[in-house]
């Protein structure tokens, strides 16, 4: 006892004397909200993981911020053939992998073959569908051969980072996911992974043989995994980290007021949230799906509409009853914009951010459609059926959970009973959505660089889990086909507008908002320029 009494202050002193880490010269520490699950580019990665991945690997070309043009990266130049069906890429000659092997056109061909291998199941496969073949002419020349002429040929060719043949060819395709390449990646990018401490840190170091003459000036980058947003705030204000991207908006005021050394930048994000309405009757859908298995085309018109949301007017009323402004202002402190149609990054970028909130009109529509509270229990009813529906969202998203809380209130005001359910995402995708067990869904999509609504709304994808709502409109399908067949960018933009208008008229979704990304960083870092593609996209140009 006595000994412990004497020892205790000593132990305590030792503990306290561990000085807090201060920011070091030449090292940038970046807070990550989640640990990257893997850095293997072949498999679907979370946004966090692919941001880190982008520092380790390179594409052939780098997409510019306008999302249309490209600048050189691994390839120093590219040329179209005369018939516009071939693109020839000339690679830089001094590219080395992190293990000092030389990167050649064989690696490019190898990577393409991996990406298109059915066994891999790469989720960007649709990019490569137009490519017939990739041929290595010599060590630095690669030719991509295309089937059709589209505005997106370069984008299709350069999608997907280049992977090292000399390492991955030794691994069987089936075992790729389980190989340790995902945790010991060898890339050609400006930084190489040197240390990965489970759920703690990922440490990257400068790649000395990086091909670019502007070699990164910062020698070490440490990604620190901080699961709690509040901790992130605390650590960035304590100078334990230099940069953080998922700071809860409620802290932004506090940060800008209290800490003049921190800079907050606000830049456009890629994702948007929406409510998807189930437009078809579950029972009839499942019966028909089982009985007419062969061809969805034949039974789509036979499926009965949902008793509530099969009606376009009701969907309109449901949209009108949501105060999007309240959500964007309160939950995001204005760092999000209400949207009223699908969010696209490409082409027509101007958003219609008006807040179409009109609760009395919503009520009017519902009354016109025959929904009134005849038994006086506060819930609307029609033909003895109550206006009651279940909305699902994925668990683990605080904002969506809060939105559900808000919606319960708002719909309650006009006599609609909404039952919120949180389930984990894969249960949603594997059971609830394919069997149409929901009435409504609160989810978010990541707007692709190339706008394509086929998986979400086209009838050919009717049974695909991403085709959430059972939306079916022959007019839309025609417009969509026209969009995909556009020969050039102006044509594409024109058709895109028509498609967007058609969708916003039909309201299979109620589009809620698109949120801005926020990056907070210490002003000691210069040249910070976050990009819609990744906040660390230009990290190699950062300076201290």
């Amino acid at each position: 006892m006595l000994m412990i009494k004497k020892l205790f202050p000593l132990i305590f002193l030792v503990l306290i004397s561990c000085s807090k880490p201060t920011l070091e010269k030449d090292i940038i520490t970046i807070g990550l909200g989640y640990e990257p699950e893997s850095l293997l580019p072949l498999f679907p990665l979370s946004a966090t993981a692919s941001n880190v991945k982008s520092l380790i690997f390179n594409n052939l070309l780098k997409m510019n911020e306008d999302l249309v043009t490209f600048s050189p990266e691994l390839a120093k130049s590219y040329t179209f053939s005369d018939d516009s069906l071939k693109i020839t890429f000339i690679l830089n000659s001094n590219i080395y992998w992190h293990d000092d092997e030389k990167l050649t056109s064989n690696d490019v061909v190898f990577s393409h073959n991996l990406y298109t291998n059915k066994l891999v199941g790469w989720d960007g496969l649709s990019y490569k569908q137009n490519i017939i073949d990739v041929i290595a002419i010599d060590d630095t020349t690669v030719v991509y051969i295309f089937d059709n002429k589209t505005p997106f040929m370069v984008m299709d060719a350069v999608e997907g980072v280049i992977l090292p043949k000399h390492i991955l060819s030794k691994v069987e395709v089936e075992g790729l996911f389980q190989s340790d390449f995902g945790h010991n990646p060898i890339g050609s990018g400006p930084y190489k992974l040197t240390h990965w401490e489970n759920q703690q840190y990922i440490q990257l170091e400068k790649h000395e043989k990086y091909f670019n003459e502007n070699k990164p000036s910062i020698s070490k980058i440490i990604f620190k995994i901080i699961n709690e947003p509040v901790m992130m705030v605390q650590q960035i204000m304590n100078r334990e980290i230099d940069m953080a991207s998922n700071i809860p908006v409620i802290y932004l005021d506090k940060i800008s007021q209290e800490d003049s050394n921190l800079e907050i930048v606000n830049y456009t994000g890629k994702d948007y949230d929406f409510i998807g309405w189930n437009m078809i009757d579950r029972v009839s859908f499942n019966q028909l799906k089982d009985s007419i298995k062969a061809n969805p085309q034949t039974f789509i018109p036979l499926v009965e509409p949902h008793f509530l949301f099969g009606n376009k007017r009701i969907r309109e009323a449901m949209s009108l009853a949501i105060n999007k402004k309240l959500i964007t202002e309160k939950l995001f402190s204005g760092n999000a914009d209400p949207i009223n149609k699908p969010y696209v990054l490409f082409g027509t970028k101007q958003l219609n951010t008006s807040n179409q909130y009109d609760i009395s009109k919503a009520k009017e529509i519902l009354t016109e459609e025959g929904w009134i509270d005849s038994d006086g229990n506060g819930i609307l009813d029609k033909n003895g059926k109550e206006f009651k529906f279940t909305i699902y969202t994925n668990s683990g998203n605080i904002i969506r959970e809060q939105i559900l809380d808000i919606l319960v209130e708002e719909y309650g005001k006009i006599g609609i009973k909404m039952i919120p359910q949180k389930v984990e995402p894969n249960y949603l995708v594997s059971d609830i959505v394919p069997n149409k067990k929901f009435d409504a869904l609160l989810l978010g999509w990541n707007a692709g660089i190339k706008p394509d609504f086929t998986p979400l709304f086209h009838r050919s994808q009717y049974l695909h889990p991403f085709h959430l709502t059972g939306f079916y409109s022959p007019e839309f399908d025609d417009m969509n086909n026209k969009l995909l067949q556009s020969k050039n960018i102006t044509d594409f933009n024109y058709n895109l507008d028509i498609v967007l208008d058609e969708l916003s008229q039909n309201r299979p979704y109620t589009w809620l908002y698109t949120k801005n990304n926020i990056l907070v960083y210490n002003k000691r870092i210069k040249n910070v320029e976050p990009s819609i593609i990744s906040p660390y996209r230009y990290l190699e140009y950062f300076e201290l």
Binding site: E401, D405, P420, Q421, V423
Partner: protein, 277 residues
């Protein structure tokens, strides 16, 4: 009977528990029913306010009244733990009694089963079962009770052994009482003390476990409120605002300590009774 009640009444812990129980009943059973207002009502103009006369515990991240949420949440937490404990005590009684009144081989098997359940990493199995599929209160209650009956079973078993050897049971057997009569007339009344005290102690444990599971997001789901889910929100509070953490702590403290005191008091008296024999 009077003597036993007297004895229980004289236990300080029990008396304290009773007084606290009064508070618990007021806060968790009466107030939620008489106080107007919806615990989920949001006033986005007033988020994170500190205690005022209007919101005596302040408001949370969606401008909801914390006090209203706490009394409703504490009500649900109590409902869950009261039912769960009931199930778990029933399971414990069944297993313990069968084990205590069966031949040694069955007794041995059942007791090793109990050890097995003791050995399961409870929280991981909660994660395994509750982390998937839709949430329902029933599922939560069933899972909680399946993994909390063991202590009751052990106590019931040893008490059953004690009753087995008592002469009144031997006499009753000689009088040809049927097994069910024997159980209801002789065993159950004598097990009652243990059952009640382990029930109350169980309630306090289950409140803690349930709030822990809800806290990590696997238990009660919104719009249902439990003390754990409320406390979970504290993680998003600005860190100079202690209202939520303090008040929800007080509520958990009140609920748990009430049943702890009651159970402790009951346990002490039932034990004493045994010594007197």
């Amino acid at each position: 009977m009077k003597q036993i009640i007297n004895e229980i009444w004289q236990n300080r812990n029990f008396k304290l528990g009773l007084i606290l129980l009064l508070l618990v009943i007021i806060f968790s059973a009466i107030l939620p029913n008489i106080l107007p207002g919806d615990p989920n009502f949001q006033n986005m103009e007033k988020c994170y306010t500190k205690p005022t006369s209007q919101h005596i515990c302040g408001t949370d991240n969606l401008g909801r009244d914390i006090f209203l949420r706490l009394i409703h949440g504490s009500g649900l937490s109590l409902k869950i733990s009261l039912t769960t404990s009931l199930f778990s005590v029933l399971i414990g009684l069944t297993i313990g009694f069968i084990s205590g009144s069966s031949p040694k081989s069955i007794d041995y098997i059942l007791m090793r089963m109990t050890d097995l359940f003791f050995g399961f990493p409870k929280y991981f199995l909660f994660i395994l079962v509750l982390g998937f599929g839709e949430f329902s209160l029933l599922k939560l209650i069933i899972v909680l009770s399946i993994f909390s009956w063991m202590e009751t079973a052990k106590m019931v078993r040893s008490e059953t052994h004690y009753i087995n050897s008592s002469l009144f049971v031997k006499s009753a057997i000689c009088q040809g009482l049927s097994k069910s009569n024997l159980f209801f007339i002789h065993y159950l009344p004598n097990l009652a003390g243990i059952l009640i005290s382990s029930y109350t102690l169980q309630v306090s444990t289950i409140i803690l476990v349930e709030s822990g599971i809800s806290f990590i997001g696997l238990g009660v789901q919104s719009p249902n409120i439990s003390l754990g889910t409320i406390l979970n929100q504290a993680r998003y509070f600005p860190y100079d605002n202690y209202t939520l953490i303090i008040f929800s702590g007080l509520f958990i403290l009140l609920n748990v300590s009430t049943f702890h005191f009651l159970g402790d008091g009951l346990k002490a008296t039932t034990n004493k009774e045994k010594f007197q024999k």
